[in-house]
Symmetry: C2
Subunit: 394 residues, 2 copies
Amino acid sequence: MAHTPASDGSAATASRPVGMVTLYDVARMAGVSTATVSRVVHGQDRVRETTRARVQDVIEQLGYIPDNAAQSLSRRRKDVIGMVYVERERKEHDVENMGLGLLYYDELLRGVQARIRDDHHWSLLITCLYEEEGDDKDVSRLMAVAGKVDGLLIGEGIISDELLARLSDRVPVVIIAGTPRKTDVVKADNHSGATALVTHLVETHAKRRLFHVDGPDDVPDARERRMALEQVLRTHPGTILTGRYQGIFSVNSGEEAGNALLGQWKELRPDAVVCANDQMALGLLRSLSRAGVSVPGDVAVTGFDDIYPGRINEPSITTVHQPMRLLGERACDRLLDRLARPGLRRRTELLPVDLVLRESCGCPPGTDIRQQVTRVRVARSTTARPAPRAGQEG
Amino acid sequence: MAHTPASDGSAATASRPVGMVTLYDVARMAGVSTATVSRVVHGQDRVRETTRARVQDVIEQLGYIPDNAAQSLSRRRKDVIGMVYVERERKEHDVENMGLGLLYYDELLRGVQARIRDDHHWSLLITCLYEEEGDDKDVSRLMAVAGKVDGLLIGEGIISDELLARLSDRVPVVIIAGTPRKTDVVKADNHSGATALVTHLVETHAKRRLFHVDGPDDVPDARERRMALEQVLRTHPGTILTGRYQGIFSVNSGEEAGNALLGQWKELRPDAVVCANDQMALGLLRSLSRAGVSVPGDVAVTGFDDIYPGRINEPSITTVHQPMRLLGERACDRLLDRLARPGLRRRTELLPVDLVLRESCGCPPGTDIRQQVTRVRVARSTTARPAPRAGQEG
DNA sequence: ATGAAAGCGCTAACAT
DNA sequence: ATGTTAGCGCTTTCAT
């Protein structure tokens, strides 16, 4: 026995985690080889029934649980996929955000879990990065996680190209809601959604003077919605942008946007405010309401994402529904596919969104219509830079 | 070289995951031993500066990322903690629950993450069990996860004693919000919270005829709240339970409870309804409102948990605030502690809750008072009978 | 300061 | 049907 792990009463036993029962222990106690135990554990055939039963007994009795580290090392796969996302705000007592902001990634997570659940062997490792922390922290976190998983789901395009390259060099990566680079991407069709929303404002409600509450510069979602807004303005003569405020997707920044807007109310009063997400729309509505401005009477307001509170708000918020959960599901599916067949061509999957018409845009009280938005192409010519292409299946 | 992993152009290379660069590759390319590379990777001293730099270079160049499986096997620790929870409902399109029910575990998760974030080396593996699935599925999921982690955080006391024993035999376990068994437990002081809430109803608002919307039998939180309610009734002569409905913590089941209540409205009209959580309170309020029953005018209603929608509901809901995030933090702290010092004595930590007075109990419109509940002891002697029964007299 | 080598617990190819 | 054994990639002790 050249390679029997210490299972005698020697000192080596002490260093082993409490209760650590190994395959060898089971094998010895059942009087079979480790190969046989392994076969039993994995329900393989080529084991006599009586043997199987005996081994099974010992397993129960000893409470044996295979060590995944050893399994992984041997099988060259960890049966774990990782999910990375960014926590934007960290204020623990911001009740508003606690009630609202949580939803995005939590839904994503639900989607991923839903996909994973049927396959007992996959597990999900989650890691979040924090916006306010340095890039080096991100790097060390990501390196650590990359060494622990078979594949990675990354929310948003927040990590640098260089880092992404390094990661995807090691494990397959699927980007969720980010700009296509050299990995698979699954994202909502923000462009079409925003286009439909703003077009509704302009064509149905005859709005002409829009104010834009934008999201962070570097967030792909925000960028796409912004570009769509600009494109609609461009293609509708007579419409103008009266101003813009850059928020960070939180209720608070929406309130700030509202205050900024009220500051220029006299001179540059808009007839509609387009917010990059629902949270900010909610914050904006609050500050407008405090100032006695009526919505949609004095001004229309729209959001994006379709979070629950926007639905029950007074007035209810017109917005675009993002299939967040589906996003998680598809991303997960794609990763699992790729893990199974590494040869797959890179692909960007665009998920359709719904336009949700409610009260804040000026539609009649009680309106709550949801209609799928058909895809519209991005106007290439006006986009100076090498536009992210939403290519189908590579 | 007896043990150099295949890094030549041999067939073995093909079976290695794409981009898999090993410590050996780095060592060879830097012209040092694996021991030295390992030292550099872990920033240990006893390496000459020039050597370190050279190795570091090769690491960058090759994009080397240590394989955690191998590290774990060698170091006998995985640097991963697992969190297990139960998904109660699975209806994908139940918008109400999407907006509300998500919050509990998500907050817990946030707490855990918050604790983990400073320690780069820990990662979090999450697994959810599904109520409607069989016990054997739970077992296989839990076994799998137990083999992948150093310690486990388990939400609620939903797993059998036997299974729990087996798990905690292998890795340290901290139960969150469950009944203390033979592991560490971190939980909110449900008993004191429910006692304060019901006492408020009885003493401040002079309620006498209570209806109870209970949670699932086997959920510890529900059980504790139920027992506190009964104890308050018992100690306040003249109070009675007019009826009880057993829900499953969802908005829908709250609505059903409301309908059941309305069914016996004539004969057994209560003056207050105590719901085991906010979701059900919300559902109940909806059905009462549809039936034209005014709250708190005709009847008072209370919830539990303090979820955001209850705060902005019309009327706002009187409830008990659970420190969900803190629960996650403490549980994680405890697990990390135990991992560091396995000898720790088993302990149950009770976290204080807040009584949140709002409108639904009959407090004046606009009320939103939050006060910490001081701990009250569970009355042992009176808990003689095993089964909770309705219609008891105080 | 650096290297050689013995494991860590498990899998799977190859015997028998 | 069952056993033998050579790794999997890394850490760490013990030499040097």
